[in-house]
């Protein structure tokens, strides 16, 4: 008798929990793979395609499915480190086949030479080039990710990739010492000892 009671109680409990789980699986269904979103958030979103995938999101999906994490040159070491942390694998050096880590650049159209073919506009993954057919094109510098994709399609080679200029606002303190062997820029400790 006791055995049956136990079986019935456990059976009923199992049914209730099953129902709850089944309901929440429908109610709280996650549309996309959250891992892909997390990986995508780490990638630099240049959409340059140097990894071999057409954009950062597809590469994020590929990583989630087991692809290597060291194929993103614009992200460089920092991105690889973060991805390794997230995926629980060892960081690796950047895969040289996909390019090398470079300084940040933006595209610049030599406007006098532009013939207005719109080819670069079609190539830009983030819509950072404005212009119209047979009209001069120009780059919205603030939106340009420096992905290089507009350079190859240009029939008159009028697009340059220029390094981003450092300003006092974007400048970063350097810990390197100055030439005279003094500690760079902080006078504390130097004066008044």
């Amino acid at each position: 008798m006791t055995l049956f009671t136990a079986l019935i109680i456990l059976g009923v409990l199992a049914l209730i929990f099953g129902a709850i789980l089944g309901y929440s699986a429908i109610k709280f269904k996650v549309e996309a793979d959250p891992l892909v979103e997390q990986i995508d958030a780490i990638l630099p979103q240049t959409q340059c395609g140097q990894c071999g995938y057409p954009g950062c999101k597809p590469y994020a999906e590929a990583i989630a499915n087991g692809d290597e994490i060291n194929k993103c040159p614009p992200g460089g070491e920092a991105t690889i480190k973060q991805l390794a942390d997230l995926m629980g694998v060892e960081p690796k050096p950047l895969d040289g086949d996909h390019g090398v880590e470079e300084v940040k650049k933006v595209a610049y159209i030599r406007e006098a030479e532009c013939i207005g073919c719109t080819k670069c506009i079609q190539a830009c993954p983030v819509d950072a080039i404005i212009g119209a057919s047979k009209q001069m094109h120009t780059v919205i510098v603030d939106e340009c990710t420096g992905c290089d994709l507009c350079v190859a399609p240009c029939p008159v080679d009028c697009i340059d990739m220029l390094p981003v200029k450092e300003t006092p606002q974007t400048w970063q303190w350097d810990l390197a010492r100055s030439a005279d062997g003094q500690l760079g820029d902080i006078p504390i400790k130097q004066v008044n000892s």
Binding site: K57, D127, Q190, N192
Partner: protein, 529 residues
């Protein structure tokens, strides 16, 4: 929130609070504070950077070759965070170009170069001597138009600070000047206490605080006397003599000393009911409202053993520092290598070359000699002595911040409140291992800021990429739909006209093409023959 009346009561009874940590570096103020503020000749050229405050820059409203008057605005903007800059003297704009900035990086920034004509012809704004009947907005507008941003060091736009959304219990005037070498505030208090008082009265009219406190460090008795004399008939102003300890002049530290209340890390002084102004800012406000003068000059301390005659001077904004060094009798032989520090020894930075201009936040040029500037010993490993934690006025753990900043573990450094570090340098001052701690913090802070900006940019890029993908997909679908509909329409039309008719047409077309080819072939043959 503090209770102003209580605070004033306590101060009058001689009760002050204290902030944690702090250091007592040897005082060197007597080098420069014994002579009156010197009025100096104009330099040959003035280099006026168009952004000298925290916020956004205005757009340039003068052109090359234009004659400008002293106090004429050079930039304008409708942005509330933009403070204009003015021509520091009358003359001709000879160039608008990139010029080394008064910034640790020394990177060039947009600068207007003026050649003085030697006349110093003012363009004054209308005087508002009856400011008590003027409304608040017009006074704030004047403060903004005069280009006033905090002269104490941070350079925050004064008109924004003066328009708080909360009621103000305590207006605090900061005459502490805790950096061991600087004496510019000391001299301005001694010589212009009356005008500082006028500035305070204007602020008082605008802000309507319950109490006004002027805080002066007890190592400046002459300045204290001058301020006392100027305020003797005003019962609403309390003067507090604050014990000398670095960095008592920090905004948060001074509020803690006077009120015993700590400003929350994420908050502002207004959250505890306080607003703080530097004495120099008060002087400039009085100049703007009562004399119609824009901010075109400030007191700069020229000090250090490598100078023949250390002194304070009224320097026009934009004066290149070599001009000031000449006036103070700079002797390069007294230095091992040429080195000028802008700001004090604790918080200043080494300027890159001697054409860097004086800007609104430049309070001191320090030129130390060989003995003052010994060779820096190499940084040694941290011995975990904990002196830095004892010295930190913000109550942080400098060691922890140092480890994490050095290892670039910025999330951990932020968990230890790196943001709350005021970069006062007290920790580096006491460190027996000669570790330039603040250097690591500054590096970490700029890195974090840079990463945040990058993150924001990549978010924007992702959004734009996704929008574009969606648009391309929609376009493609629309095109396919159109083709499908067109194909259907053609099919229908064919069916309607009857199959045979259409087939005949195709047959006829094929026949025509065949005939054409044959004719061409024939023609070729003819030509060959």
């Amino acid at each position: 929130m503090i209770d102003a009346d209580n605070v004033v009561q306590q101060i009058k009874q001689g009760q002050l609070f204290d902030f944690p940590g702090g250091v007592h570096p040897p005082q060197q103020k007597s080098l420069s504070n014994t002579t009156p503020i010197n009025t100096i000749d104009e330099p040959e050229r003035l280099y006026i950077p168009i952004k000298q405050h925290i916020g956004t820059q205005g757009s340039i409203c003068v052109s090359i070759g234009q004659d400008v008057a002293k106090g004429e605005p050079l930039t304008t903007s409708a942005n509330p965070f933009a403070v204009p800059v003015h021509a520091s003297t009358s003359g001709k704009v000879i160039d608008i170009t990139q010029h080394p900035s008064a910034h640790p990086s020394g990177l060039p920034e947009t600068t207007i170069i003026i050649e003085p004509d030697g006349l110093a012809q003012w363009q004054l704004m209308p005087v508002m001597s009856d400011y008590l009947s003027a409304d608040k907005v017009s006074i704030l507008e004047r403060i903004c138009q005069a280009g006033i941003s905090g002269l104490g060091g941070a350079g925050f736009p004064t008109h924004i600070k003066t328009n708080p959304q909360k009621s103000v219990e305590c207006l605090i005037i900061n005459g502490i000047e805790c950096e061991p070498y600087i004496s510019s505030d000391d001299r301005i208090m001694r010589e212009h206490a009356w005008q500082i008082k006028q500035g305070i009265d204007i602020l008082r009219h605008v802000i309507q605080p319950k109490q006004v406190i002027i805080a002066v460090e007890d190592n400046k008795p002459e300045a204290m006397d001058a301020i006392k004399t100027a305020c003797i008939e005003d019962a609403g102003i309390t003067i507090a003599s604050v014990p000398t300890k670095y960095p008592a002049g920090g905004e948060r530290q001074l509020i803690q000393v006077l009120t015993g209340e700590e400003v929350p890390q994420e908050g502002l002084p207004i959250d505890v009911g306080c607003l703080m102004y530097n004495v120099g800012t008060c002087y400039a406000i009085a100049d703007a409202v009562l004399h119609g003068k824009a901010l075109v000059q400030r007191v700069v301390t020229l000090t250090g053993q490598a100078l023949g005659s250390p002194q304070n001077v009224w320097a026009l904004l934009g004066t290149p520092i070599h001009h000031l060094l000449d006036i103070a009798g700079y002797d390069p032989k007294r230095q091992r290598s040429q080195k000028v520090i802008m700001g004090g020894p604790m918080m200043g930075f080494t300027v890159h070359n001697d054409v860097v201009p004086v800007v609104k936040i430049t309070n001191c040029l320090l030129v130390p000699d060989k003995r003052e500037l010994p060779d820096v010993e190499d940084e040694r490993p941290c011995i975990r002595c904990g002196l830095c934690a004892d010295a930190c006025p913000a109550g942080l753990l400098p060691q922890q911040l140092f480890w994490h900043s050095k290892a670039k573990e910025y999330d951990k450094a932020q968990a230890y409140h790196l943001d709350a570090c005021i970069e006062c340098g007290a920790c580096a001052y006491v460190c027996p291992s000669e570790i330039p701690l603040v250097h690591y913090y500054r590096k970490a802070k700029t890195d974090i800021k840079y990463q945040a900006a990058e993150k924001e940019k990549s978010e924007k890029a992702r959004e734009r990429f996704e929008t574009r993908q969606a648009r391309l997909l929609a376009d493609k679908q629309a095109r396919e739909e159109k083709h499908r509909l067109a194909a259907e329409a053609r099919k229908k039309a064919m069916e309607n006209k009857g199959g045979s008719d259409a087939k005949d047409k195709i047959a006829a077309a094929l026949a025509r093409a065949k005939a054409k080819r044959a004719a061409a072939a024939q023609a070729n043959k003819d030509a060959e023959e």
